[in-house]
C-alpha cells in the first residue's frame, strides 16, 4: 500500500523544450514519487509501451509545440486499446485554455499551464492518483 507513486514524464512529438518536464520530474521525485523520464521525441506508441513496461500509475505529458490536440488524446486511446486505462494521464505546456475542455473530454485528467507551482501538481497527483 505504501509503495511510492510511479510516474512517467514524457515528451511526445518533436518539441525539444524540456525544462518544464525536467523541473516537474525533479519536483515529483523530491516529493517521494518514483519518476522516469522518456527523453525527447517519443511517439504515443513508445510512451504507452514504456508506461506499461515500467508499471507506472501516471503519465505526465509535456508539449510546447502546439501538437497537443493530436498527441495527448492518442496516448489515452492507446492506453485503452492496451487494456491499461488504469494508468492516468495529465498534461502540461503551452496549451491554450480553449483546448483544455477537448483534452479533458478525450480522457486527459488535468492540464497544467505555465506558471503553475510544482506544489499544485504534486497535491493534485497525491489526491487523484490511486485514490
Amino acid at each position: 500500500m505504501s509503495n511510492p507513486i510511479r510516474v512517467l514524464i514524457a515528451k511526445p512529438g518533436l518539441d525539444g523544450h524540456d525544462r518544464g518536464a525536467k523541473v516537474i520530474a525533479r519536483a515529483f521525485r523530491d516529493a517521494g514519487m518514483e519518476v522516469i523520464y522518456t527523453g525527447l521525441r517519443q511517439t504515443p506508441e513508445q510512451i504507452v509501451e514504456t508506461a506499461i513496461q515500467e508499471d507506472v500509475d501516471l503519465i505526465g505529458l509535456s508539449c510546447l509545440s502546439g501538437a497537443h490536440n493530436t498527441l495527448f488524446p492518442r496516448v489515452v486511446e492507446l492506453l485503452k486499446a492496451k487494456d491499461a486505462a488504469d494508468i492516468k494521464v495529465i498534461g502540461g505546456g503551452v496549451i491554450p485554455s480553449e483546448d483544455i475542455p477537448y483534452l479533458k473530454e478525450s480522457g486527459v485528467l488535468e492540464i497544467f499551464t505555465p506558471g503553475t507551482p510544482t506544489t499544485t501538481c504534486i497535491d493534485y497527483v497525491l489526491k487523484n492518483v490511486r485514490k
Partner: protein
C-alpha cells in the same frame, strides 16, 4: 575631489557603521542577502573600491577597439539603429510570406524565419513524426518550391535574412542561395545568418539529427563554402539564447556559449582553415532577461572575453575576428500566461538591456507568446517597443552609456571571471563536445532551472501576476490559431511536387550526395545540386541519416 582609496574605504566603513546601521535598525532591508540571477551578492552600494583593478585602456578601451568591451562598432547606434528583426513564421509558406511583408511594411529592417519542427529535424510534412506539428511553431518547408513562395516578392539583395535552422542548416542555406539565383541575385550579394549551432541543440534545444562528429563536419563545410562563395553570410549564430531559456543563469549563458564557440573554431582549424578566414563571419545570439544591469554586464563581459580568446588562444589577427557581434531576443521563459499585457513591460526592460549592452540586432517577444504564436497586433506592439526605445528614449545617442558605473563595471568583471572558471572546467573535461556528451552542461543548467523554480515557489523571487499581485482572470481572447488542416494541405502540395519534378535528376543527385557524405569532400555543392532539382528536405536528410546515423541523447533528471 579625492580618489584616495584609503579615504574612500574609511568613508564606506563609516557609512555602513553609522548611517546605514542606524537606518537598518529601524527599517530592515527587504532581503538578506540580495543576489542576482548568477547567484552573486549585490552590494548595498558600489564605489571606486569595487573597480580598483579596472585599467581603462586595458579593460575597456574605446568602442570599436580591442577588447571591444564598449562595443564592436566605433559609432554604434549613432550611425544606424540595430536591425529590428522579429522572429516569425507559421503555417505554409504563403501565410508566412504575408506576415513578412506586413512586418517589413511596419518598419522592420530584417527578416527572421521560424521553421516548424519537422523542417528543423529534417522530416517532410508527410512523415509519421510530423503529425500535428506541421506549420505549428514555424513555417513548413519541404522543398525549394516552398522556399520560392516564402520569399516571393521579397528581394534578397535588399533585406538580410536570419534563419533559425540548425541540424539541416546546409540544406536551407542551399535553398536560399537557389532562390537568390532565381531572383537574379548572385550568392556573393546575399546577406544573412543561419543559426547552424548544433552544440546548443544537444545542450538545450533538442532539434538535433546527427551525432556531433558529422554535425561538426557540416558546419565547417558551410564555413568553407561561404568563405569562397557567400562571403557576406554569417555562417553560424552561436547561441546562448536557448541555454538561458533551458534555465541557465547569466554567467553560464556566457560560458557555455563561448565554450561552443571555441569548439567550432577548433573544428574549423582542424579542418584546415585559417582562423581569420572564418572567424569574421561568426556571430552570436543572446537572451535578454529582466535583471537590467546584470544583462548589460553580461553582454560587455562576453565581448571582452571572446576578444581575448580569439586573440590570445587562437592568434587571430584581423580585427573582425575578435569582435563578438550578436543578435538578442528577449526572454521567452520570462513571459507569463497570467496578465499577458504585463509582458509588454517586461519586454521593454529586456529590450533596453540589449540596447544598453550594444546588440547588433533585436527580436522583441510579443505579449501573448506564453499562450500561443503571436497575433499581428501583438507582434506590431513588440516591434513598436523597439522603435520607441530607438526613436524616443535617447538610449542610442551615446555608446555604452553605463560604462564607468561602479556597479556595472564590477559586475562585468565578476561575470567575466565566473564564465572563465566554467571555460577552464570545460577545457579540463576535454572541451565542449566531451562536456556535452557526459552531460555536464545539461546538469548545471537543470540545477539552475530547478533552483529558479524553487525560489519562485518560496516567494524569494517575485514574478508579478504569478506569485504576487495575482487576479482572477478569464481566458484570453483572440489568440492566433494555426489552421489544423495545414498538415493535409502541405502533404498534398508535396505529392504534386513529386509527380511533377524530374525524378531521374533527383535520384542521381541523392546518389551523389550519399557518395560525398561517405567521403570527406565539402557537402555544400552536392546539397545545392539536389535542392535545385527539388529533392525534398526529408529526402536529403534521410540520405545523411543513413550515412551519419542519428544522435541519441543520454537522459538525466
Amino acid at each position: 575631489m579625492s580618489n584616495n582609496m584609503e579615504e574612500i574605504r574609511q568613508n564606506v566603513e563609516a557609512w555602513e557603521k553609522g548611517t546605514v546601521a542606524k537606518t537598518i535598525s529601524r527599517f530592515p532591508e527587504r532581503k538578506n542577502p540580495f543576489q542576482n540571477t548568477s547567484g552573486f551578492e549585490v552590494k548595498r552600494a558600489y564605489t571606486p573600491l569595487d573597480v580598483q583593478e579596472l585599467d581603462y585602456n586595458r579593460d575597456l578601451g574605446m568602442p570599436g577597439e580591442y577588447p571591444y568591451t564598449r562595443g564592436v562598432q566605433p559609432t554604434l547606434y549613432r550611425g544606424r539603429f540595430w536591425t529590428m528583426r522579429q522572429y516569425a513564421g507559421f503555417g505554409k509558406a504563403e501565410e508566412s510570406n504575408e506576415r513578412y511583408k506586413y512586418l517589413l511594411q511596419q518598419g522592420q529592417t530584417g527578416l527572421s524565419i521560424a521553421f516548424d519542427l519537422p523542417t528543423q529535424i529534417g522530416y517532410d510534412s508527410d512523415h509519421a513524426l510530423s503529425q500535428g506539428e506541421v506549420g505549428k511553431v514555424g513555417v513548413a518547408i519541404d522543398s525549394l518550391a516552398d522556399m520560392e513562395i516564402l520569399f516571393n516578392g521579397i528581394p534578397l539583395d535588399k533585406v538580410s535574412t536570419s534563419m533559425t535552422i540548425n541540424a539541416p542548416a546546409a540544406v536551407l542555406l542551399a535553398m536560399y542561395i537557389a532562390v537568390g539565383e532565381k531572383q537574379g541575385i548572385a550568392a556573393n550579394k546575399l546577406n544573412g545568418t543561419i543559426q547552424n549551432d548544433i552544440l546548443k541543440e544537444y545542450i538545450a534545444r533538442g532539434t538535433y539529427i546527427f551525432p556531433p562528429k558529422p554535425s561538426m563536419r557540416l558546419i565547417t563545410n558551410i564555413f568553407e563554402y561561404c568563405y569562397k562563395n557567400v562571403p557576406e553570410w554569417n555562417t553560424i549564430s552561436i547561441s546562448g539564447y536557448h541555454i538561458r531559456e533551458a534555465g541557465s543563469n547569466a554567467a553560464q549563458e556566457i560560458a557555455f556559449t563561448l565554450a561552443d564557440g571555441i569548439a567550432y573554431v577548433e573544428a574549423a582549424i582542424k579542418a584546415g582553415m585559417d582562423v581569420d578566414e572564418f572567424a569574421p563571419r561568426l556571430s552570436f545570439f543572446f537572451n535578454a532577461h529582466s535583471d537590467l544591469f546584470e544583462e548589460v554586464a553580461k553582454f560587455r563581459a562576453a565581448r571582452r572575453l571572446w576578444a581575448k580568446i580569439m586573440k590570445e588562444r587562437f592568434g587571430a589577427k584581423k580585427d573582425k575576428s575578435l569582435m563578438l557581434r550578436f543578435h538578442t531576443q528577449t526572454a521567452g521563459s520570462m513571459l507569463t500566461a497570467q496578465q499577458p499585457d504585463n509582458n509588454i513591460v517586461r519586454v521593454t526592460l529586456q529590450a533596453l538591456a540589449a540596447v544598453l549592452g550594444g546588440t547588433q540586432s533585436l527580436h522583441t517577444n510579443s505579449r501573448d507568446e506564453a499562450l500561443a504564436l503571436p497575433t499581428e497586433d501583438a507582434v506590431r506592439i513588440a516591434l513598436r517597443t523597439q522603435q520607441i526605445i530607438a526613436y524616443e528614449s535617447g538610449a542610442g545617442d551615446t555608446i555604452d552609456p553605463l560604462a564607468g558605473s561602479y556597479y556595472v563595471e564590477s559586475l562585468t568583471n565578476t561575470l567575466e571571471k565566473a564564465a572563465d572558471v566554467y571555460l577552464k572546467k570545460i577545457d579540463e573535461l576535454g572541451g565542449s563536445v566531451m562536456a556535452i556528451e557526459n552531460g555536464y552542461m545539461q546538469q548545471e543548467i537543470q540545477n539552475s532551472a530547478y533552483r529558479w523554480q524553487q525560489e519562485i515557489e518560496k516567494g524569494e523571487r517575485i514574478v508579478v501576476g504569478v506569485n504576487k499581485f495575482t487576479i482572477e482572470e478569464g481566458a484570453p481572447k483572440g489568440l492566433l490559431r494555426v489552421d489544423p488542416s495545414i498538415g493535409v494541405k502541405q502533404t498534398e502540395k508535396l505529392r504534386e511536387l513529386k509527380a511533377k519534378r524530374d525524378q531521374a535528376a533527383v535520384t542521381a543527385a541523392l546518389a551523389e550526395l550519399r557518395q560525398v557524405a561517405q567521403g570527406s569532400d565539402n557537402l555544400m555543392p552536392v546539397i545545392l545540386k539536389a535542392v535545385k532539382v527539388y529533392a525534398t528536405l526529408g529526402e536529403i536528410c534521410d540520405v545523411l541519416r543513413e550515412v551519419f546515423g542519428e544522435y541519441q541523447a543520454s537522459v538525466t533528471i
